[in-house]
C-alpha cells in the first residue's frame, strides 16, 4: 500500500488550457480521499496525471517517496476504475480480470486463485464466463472493480464510477465500496461531482474549483468550517444561505439594507465598514414566534416572508424571502406543519453558527 505526494502538480493541455494548477496534497497510506467539484474543475485531469494517462506539466508526483512523473502507467502499480467501466468488450468477465495478471506474467495457478478470491468478494463467481454485454450496469461496475482488485495495486483510482447507475444501485454500491476499502486497507483516490458520495465515502475531501484545491479536510470539518464561500455553497443541500452584508464601525454585522443582524461578541477591528458575505446553513435558522420581538443581542434575527414549503418526509424545507429580495431556506423537522405562503416569519440563529466571508476574496473570516 502506498503514500502519495502531490507537490505543486499542474497541467496545461496542448491547446493551452491550464486545467489544473498548484495541487499540493499528501494522501496517506490506506486513506480514502475524494476529489469533488463541479464539472470541468480538473478532477479527472488530476486523477489521470496520477495514473500516468496525462503527462504532468508542472510539479512532481511521488508514490512512496519515489518520483513517478516519467513512469509508464503500467509501472506505477495503480489500478483505475473508469466511469464507463472500460471493460474489454471482446473478453469474458474472467478474461477482463486476468488480463492485467497475464501481462505481468503470473503463473496460471496464482491467477486463478486471485480471480476466485476477488470474484467471491464481489459476488461475481457466477458471472465469470459471461461477456460484458450480458451484464447489468451494476454488475459491470463490479467487474471493473474486480479487475482492479486482482492486481493488488498500491493505489486505487476511481473516476466517477457510480455516476452511470440509478440512485438505488448507487447507494448500494457506495456502501460496498466503503466496505471494500475497509477490507483491502488500500489507498483510494475517488473522483465524483456528487457531494453525498464525497461526504459518505471520504476520510478527507479535496474540494476543487477552477483547477485549484479550495479545501482539503475531513468531511465534517469541511461542512462545519468551510474555508471559503465556494466550499460553503458547494457542500450541503439545500445550499448554505448567503446574505450580503457589511460590518459597522462598532462591531455590528448589518444586512445591506440596514437591518442589523447581530452584534459580534468581539468586533473584528480591521473589518470595520467592509462588505461581508454572511453564511448560515438551513438547519441553523429557527423560527422565532412573532411578537416575541424582543431580539436579544445573543441571537441573530431575520424577518422574512414564506414563499413555499417542501415536505420531504424526514425534513421540511421552507423557502422564504427577505425584505431586500434575497432568498433563504430553512430546514425544519419532518413533523413541522406547513406554513402558509406569504405569512411573515421571524427567524433567529445562534451567532456561533454564522460563517463570515470576505465578499471580495470569498475567504473565511
Amino acid at each position: 500500500m502506498a503514500q502519495l505526494e502531490l507537490n505543486g502538480l499542474g497541467k496545461t493541455y496542448a491547446g493551452g488550457v491550464r486545467a489544473v494548477r498548484d495541487i499540493h496534497a499528501v494522501v496517506e497510506d490506506g486513506e480514502f480521499v475524494v476529489l469533488v467539484g463541479p464539472s470541468g474543475c480538473g478532477k479527472s485531469t488530476i486523477l489521470r496525471m496520477i495514473a500516468g494517462l496525462e503527462t504532468i506539466t508542472e510539479g512532481e508526483l511521488r508514490i512512496d517517496g519515489i518520483r513517478v512523473n516519467e513512469t509508464e502507467p503500467g509501472a506505477r502499480d495503480i489500478a483505475m476504475v473508469f466511469q464507463n467501466y472500460a471493460l474489454y468488450p471482446h473478453m469474458s468477465v474472467r478474461g477482463n480480470m486476468e488480463y492485467g495478471l497475464r501481462n505481468e506474467g503470473r503463473p496460471r495457478a496464482e491467477i486463478n486463485q486471485r480471480i476466485d478470491e476477488a470474484a467471491r468478494m464481489l459476488q461475481l463467481t457466477a458471472l465469470l464466463d459471461r461477456q460484458p454485454r450480458q451484464l447489468s450496469g451494476g454488475q459491470r461496475q463490479r467487474v471493473a472493480m474486480g479487475r482492479a482488485i486482482v492486481r493488488n495495486p498500491k493505489v486505487f483510482l476511481f473516476d466517477e464510477p457510480l455516476s452511470n447507475l440509478d440512485a438505488k444501485l448507487r447507494t448500494q454500491l457506495r456502501a460496498e465500496l466503503k466496505a471494500l476499502h475497509r477490507k483491502l486497507g488500500a489507498t483510494f483516490i475517488y473522483v465524483t461531482h456528487d457531494q453525498v458520495e464525497a461526504m459518505s465515502l471520504a476520510d478527507r475531501i479535496a474540494i476543487l474549483n477552477g483547477g485549484e484545491i479550495q479545501q482539503l479536510a475531513a468531511p465534517l470539518d469541511i461542512y462545519r468550517r468551510p474555508a471559503n464561500r465556494f466550499v460553503a455553497e458547494f457542500i450541503g443541500n439545500p445550499a448554505m444561505n448567503i446574505l450580503e452584508g457589511h460590518m459597522s464601525d462598532d462591531g455590528w454585522v448589518l444586512m445591506d439594507q440596514g437591518q442589523p443582524l447581530l452584534r459580534l461578541p468581539s468586533p473584528i477591528a480591521d473589518r470595520a465598514g467592509q462588505p461581508l458575505a454572511i453564511g448560515i446553513r438551513p438547519e441553523h435558522l429557527h423560527p422565532a414566534p412573532l411578537g416575541e420581538g424582543q431580539q436579544t443581542h445573543a441571537l441573530a434575527s431575520l424577518q422574512v416572508k414564506v414563499d413555499f414549503t417542501e415536505h420531504l418526509g424526514a425534513d421540511c424545507i421552507v423557502h422564504a424571502r427577505l425584505e431586500n429580495g434575497a432568498t433563504v431556506a430553512l430546514r425544519l423537522g419532518g413533523n413541522a406543519r406547513a406554513i402558509a405562503a406569504d405569512s411573515p416569519l421571524s427567524l433567529c440563529a445562534d451567532p456561533a453558527d454564522l460563517h463570515l466571508f470576505d465578499r471580495q476574496s470569498g475567504q473565511r473570516i
Binding site: E72, P73, G74, A79, M80, F82, A86, P89, N103, R151
Partner: protein
C-alpha cells in the same frame, strides 16, 4: 433487437423500395440474365446468328490453359492487393489516429488517391513505371541495378498492377480503419496501459480484435475489388500483358468478348465470376458477420 418498422399504408412500403428494385432489375438482373443466356449459345463473329450449345462454352473455357492461368493470376493479384492494402492502410490509420486530433489536413491528403478515376490511376502508374520515361522505373534501376521493363517481364508487370491497385485502394481502407480506430473508446486502451500492456500488446490484444468487424468487411471489399473491379486499371497499365501475365479473370472476360469476339466464352466467364461473387457474399453474411459479432 427488433428493428422492424410498421406502415399503416399498405402501398407506401412498396413505393419506397420501388426505385431500388428498378435499378437492380435494369442494371443487375437483366444483364445477368443476358449473360446467363449468352453463355449457353455460340454466336458468329458478326452477331448475325447464334446456336444453342448447352454447357459447351463452360467446357471450353475450363479446357483453355490461358483461362486457367488467369485463375492463378487473379488469386495472386487479389491476395497480394488485399494483404498489401490492408497492412499499409492499417499502419497509416494507426499513425494518423495518433496525430489526427490535431489536424485534418493529413486525412484529406490521404484520401486523394480514392478520388482518382481507375483509368487515370492506371495511366499515372503507366507513366511513372514506364521503362523509358518513368521516374520510378529509373529509381528502381538506379537503386537496385535490376532493369525494369514490365513490357517484357511478366512478374514485374504483375508487381506493377498489384502496386497500382493497392495504391488506388489504400485510401478507402484507410478511411474505414481510421473510423474504426476512432470508434474504439480511448478508455479501453488506457485501461490496458494501466493493466501493464505495452504498445504492441495493446494493439494486438485490444485494438486489433475490436477492429475485427472493419477488417472482415474490408477483406471482402478488397477481394471483390481486386477480383472484379480492377479491369480498367489493369487494362490502362499493362493491357493484361505481357503474355497474359496480368490477365485476371475480368480482363479475360473483356479479351474474350471484345478483343476475341467470342461472346459465348466471354459470357460463360462472366457467369463464373458471378458465381464467385455470390459465393463470397454468402460467405460474408453466413460466416464472417456472425463470427466478428462480439
Amino acid at each position: 433487437m427488433e428493428k422492424r418498422v410498421f406502415f399503416r399504408d399498405p402501398v407506401l412500403p412498396y413505393l419506397l423500395v420501388a426505385p431500388q428494385i428498378v435499378i437492380t432489375v435494369v442494371f443487375f438482373l437483366w444483364p445477368s440474365y443476358q449473360a446467363l443466356e449468352s453463355a449457353l449459345y455460340v454466336e458468329d463473329a458478326f452477331g448475325f446468328s447464334r446456336q444453342f450449345v448447352g454447357l459447351d462454352n463452360f467446357r471450353a473455357i475450363f479446357a483453355d490453359k490461358v483461362y486457367l492461368r488467369a485463375f492463378g493470376v487473379t488469386l495472386v493479384f487479389g491476395l497480394s492487393v488485399t494483404v498489401l492494402t490492408m497492412a499499409l492502410s492499417l499502419g497509416l490509420a494507426v499513425a494518423a489516429d495518433r496525430v489526427l486530433r490535431a489536424s485534418t489536413a493529413y486525412r484529406t491528403f490521404l484520401i486523394w488517391p480514392y478520388a482518382v478515376a481507375p483509368a487515370i490511376a492506371g495511366v499515372l502508374w503507366y507513366f511513372m513505371m514506364n521503362p523509358t520515361i518513368g521516374i520510378v522505373a529509373y529509381w528502381i534501376e538506379a537503386l537496385s541495378g535490376t532493369e525494369w521493363n514490365h513490357y517484357v517481364n511478366g512478374n514485374q508487370a504483375l508487381i506493377l498492377v498489384i502496386i497500382a491497385a493497392t495504391w488506388k485502394q489504400i485510401s478507402y481502407n484507410f478511411l474505414f480503419f481510421l473510423a474504426g480506430l476512432q470508434s474504439i473508446p480511448r478508455a479501453l486502451v488506457e485501461a490496458a496501459a494501466i493493466d501493464r500492456a505495452g504498445p504492441a500488446r495493446r494493439f494486438w490484444t485490444i485494438i486489433f480484435p475490436l477492429l475485427a468487424p472493419t477488417t472482415f468487411f474490408l477483406l471482402v471489399v478488397n477481394l471483390v475489388y481486386a477480383f472484379f473491379d480492377t479491369f480498367s486499371l489493369i487494362d490502362a497499365t499493362t493491357n493484361g500483358g505481357p503474355a497474359n501475365a496480368t490477365s485476371t479473370l475480368v480482363v479475360k472476360v473483356y479479351q474474350s468478348g471484345f478483343v476475341g469476339q467470342d461472346y459465348g466464352a466471354s459470357a460463360a466467364q462472366s457467369v463464373v465470376l458471378m458465381v464467385i461473387v455470390m459465393a463470397m457474399t454468402v460467405l460474408q453474411f453466413r460466416y464472417i458477420d456472425r463470427r466478428v459479432n462480439y
